[in-house]
């Protein structure tokens, strides 16, 4: 037992969890912690807006698989984190947000910068804590890390009243804590695995739909082994992008609203669908009643509440994707011989051939997003980690920027948070300083968190931003073109800001390109640059992202 203040206990506990970085911004109610932080080995990265701190922690978490930590003061500091916390919740990303709170005696009195962050974040966290005594802090931090990482990961908030931070108490740092109400089931039920293996071994047209859960549980190698054994094509959800190499003959790319034609067409021919680590989101399935109505569906998920939530399931398996795919593979390898090809795999190649280059790309213009992203892929090393903003840029990235490794494509899937990509890229770079990090951006999204340029330059975290600049809120404009009679309502951004000057004002490098050759040169320049580089790529303002399944429609109604 050691006597120390709540703040000391917090930093010590974070240290014990091997936290090496915190993204944050101080304020009145968190000052005792910041004072202690000054003497600790933990690196603090100062943001210019708390939303970015949460996104940075999120990017850090997704790239590393570890918990990302962000910190802010009470009131507006805490509420500014909310978008980032909700984002992490929707995409199952393990972050811990530490917020200051007014002293205990002031809680509930509408004190200066008081906000009920526990109430606000209850629906968007796995759990949240407000220790009322300093002595609870070590155990609280231990539990927070366990909850954030265990089972299906997600965000946890620790709200610390200022006087609790200052209170001195005897501290006990537990090695492990028992959380009796939260014990995720990691090992799949053997009987269910057998049932699934039986079904898959008899399938004529097996199909694998792989989601973000495959990335989270590091199950890519078993996924690939299983796919090759079954000769089952793999489509990923948007969140699953990267869990299966997109240059693999059995890869169909991403499914869903802006998924590839081959994925959306061929999944409907499947007789047995193996869905792993996916929650059948509306963006992936389109109209749910028309999604694989005749296929037998096997669903693997670590979260029992996801099984059958959106789609009725024939063989449910609760378990970790990694462990379950491994066991499923073992079971299947006893039943099946590895083959070179099958009727179904030939059919898949035929579908891929049929839809190859089906999407029209402007041949006259040079700087169109499709070509820009293909070129970007050519230049960037395989290990490069790409983040995206939200909207057209994101969907073009999904379609045209092929990804070969898990955790190298990081994007805001569930919440669709504009402004996510750039701060997330900074967080990724902190976790992985050894690889290039590139944010594929749109001009609208990038402007939302562009103030993070200050952080990236001041903290020496160089990343590259490629802005596909159409001077529009492009995705909204696309919907207005397609579904609102071309009536543009509040989507024209104009040529503001001047991104080169903006970058330079923050001490970063800004390059505007006028041709594909200039673009290639700029990317190469960015890759060797010591400072963050913003590459402004003007693209045609009225370019659509195709294919597209209109909202509420089934996969068959894909337009291109």
């Amino acid at each position: 037992m050691v006597k120390m203040s709540g703040s000391h206990a917090l930093i010590e506990a974070l240290h014990k969890e091997k936290v090496d970085v915190i993204f944050g911004l101080p304020g009145g109610a968190i000052m005792p912690v910041y004072d202690v932080l000054l003497d600790s080995k933990i690196r603090h990265i100062l943001v210019r807006h708390e939303q970015s701190a949460a996104h940075m922690a999120d990017g850090y978490a997704r790239a590393s698989g570890k918990v990302g930590v962000c910190m802010a003061t009470s009131g507006p500091g805490a509420t500014n984190l909310v978008t980032g916390i909700a984002n992490a919740y929707m995409d199952s990303s393990p972050i811990i947000a530490i917020t200051g709170q007014v002293p205990r005696a002031m809680i509930g009195k509408d004190a200066f910068q008081e906000t009920d962050i526990i109430g606000i974040t209850t629906p968007i966290t796995k759990y949240n804590f407000q220790p009322r005594h300093a002595s609870e802090i070590p155990k609280t931090v231990k539990m927070a890390f366990q909850i954030a990482l265990m089972g299906r990961p997600g965000p946890v908030v620790i709200d610390l009243p200022k006087d609790v931070q200052m209170e001195v108490a005897d501290m006990v740092f537990p090695e492990k804590v028992e959380i009796r109400g939260y014990k995720p089931n990691i090992s799949p039920h053997p009987l269910q695995v057998e049932k699934a293996a039986e079904l898959l071994s008899k399938a004529e047209r097996p199909f694998i739909l792989a989601g973000g859960g495959v990335i989270i549980s590091n199950a890519s190698q078993y996924l690939q082994a299983l796919s090759e054994l079954l000769l089952a094509p793999v489509a990923t959800t948007f969140m699953g992008k990267g869990c299966f190499p997109e240059n693999h003959p059995l890869s169909l790319g991403v499914i869903g609203m802006h998924g590839t034609l081959e994925a959306n067409k061929s999944i409907l021919e499947a007789d047995v669908l193996l869905a792993v680590g996916t929650r059948f989101s509306d963006r992936s399935t389109g109209k749910i009643d028309e999604f694989c109505p005749d296929a037998k569906i096997i669903q693997i998920d670590i979260d029992p509440s996801e099984i059958g939530k959106n789609k009725a399931i024939d063989v449910p398996i609760v378990g970790d994707a990694n462990k379950t795919l491994f066991e499923l593979y073992n079971s299947l390898s006893k039943r099946l011989e590895k083959r070179e090809s099958s009727l179904w795999s030939k059919r898949i190649q035929q579908i891929k051939e049929e839809f190859k280059d089906k999407i029209k790309v402007d041949q006259e213009k040079d700087l169109v997003p499709q070509k820009v992203l293909k070129e970007l892929r050519e230049i960037l090393p395989v290990d490069t980690i790409v983040t995206t903003e939200v909207g057209q840029n994101q969907m073009w990235a999904s379609l045209y920027f092929k990804v070969y490794k898990p955790r190298t494509f990081i994007s805001s899937g569930g919440l669709g948070t504009m402004g996510f990509g750039f701060p997330a890229a900074i967080g990724v770079k902190v976790a992985r300083p050894d690889v290039p990090v590139v944010d594929i951006a749109g001009d609208g999204s990038f402007t939302m968190t562009a103030n993070s340029l200050a952080t990236s330059v001041a903290e020496n975290i160089p990343v590259t931003v490629v802005i596909l600049n159409n001077s529009m809120l492009g995705m909204v404009a696309q919907w207005q073109r397609l579904f609102y009679n071309r009536r543009y309502s509040a989507v024209e951004l104009g040529e503001y800001p001047n991104f080169v000057k903006l970058a330079e004002a923050f001490g970063a490098q800004g390059i505007r390109v006028g041709s594909i050759d200039e673009f290639k040169k700029a990317v190469k320049q960015a890759l060797i640059s010591d400072v963050t580089t913003v590459i402004d790529v003007p693209i045609p303002p009225e370019e659509n992202v195709f294919p597209m399944i209109p909202a509420g429609k089934g996969l068959r109604e894909i337009i291109y």
Binding site: I118, G119, T122, P123, K126, Y127, I147, I179, R180, G181, Y182, D303, P304, S305, I307, G308, K309
Partner: protein
């Protein structure tokens, strides 16, 4: 009242007995669009555990999803669906009735006795009856009592335990 379509379910849960647990549960119901008929919470034989009894009307899929979502809450330790045939189910109601005259007063006392209720308050123009039992029994008393004129009703919602 809304037309009830599905079946009635009684869900009994053991939860951490600490502040905020009811908030977390009710927040989840609201967020997921579950319509709860009643919820009652009270301490158990272990001082750090509470029992939360929830009644819901719905189809099987809805109830299954509700149970999964409840189980997912960190503060929820155990969730079970009670079989009414094999459970003791009770609700308590306080019913304040108009008393028009002496005859009404004696009728109310008689009815209360038949239902094993108790008169817990008497005022010049009203009486309050306490009834404990299954919701059906309370409903039956209420329909009878409505002839006197009901001023106010307070019902606790169901609490229940498995027999044996």
């Amino acid at each position: 009242m809304e037309e009830k379509q599905g079946k009635n379910y009684i869900i009994s849960t053991i939860v951490e007995n600490k502040p905020g647990v009811l908030h977390r549960a009710s927040n989840m119901f609201r967020k997921r669009g579950f319509n709860i008929d009643s919820i009652s919470v009270g301490p158990t034989e272990h001082k750090d555990l509470a029992r939360m009894t929830i009644t819901i009307n719905g189809d099987e899929t809805t109830v299954e999803q509700l149970i999964k979502q409840l189980s997912k809450l960190v503060d929820v330790i155990k969730v079970s669906v009670l079989n009414p045939q094999n459970s003791v189910i009770r609700e308590l109601a306080l019913i304040k009735l108009h008393v028009a005259d002496a005859k009404a007063r004696s009728d109310i006392i008689n009815y209360a006795n038949i239902f094993r209720g108790r008169i817990v308050d008497v005022a010049p123009a009203s009486m309050t009856v306490e009834i404990t039992g299954t919701p059906d029994k309370i409903d039956a008393f209420l329909s009878l009592a409505s002839t006197f004129g009901i001023k106010e009703i307070a019902r606790t919602g169901i609490t229940a335990l498995v027999r044996g």
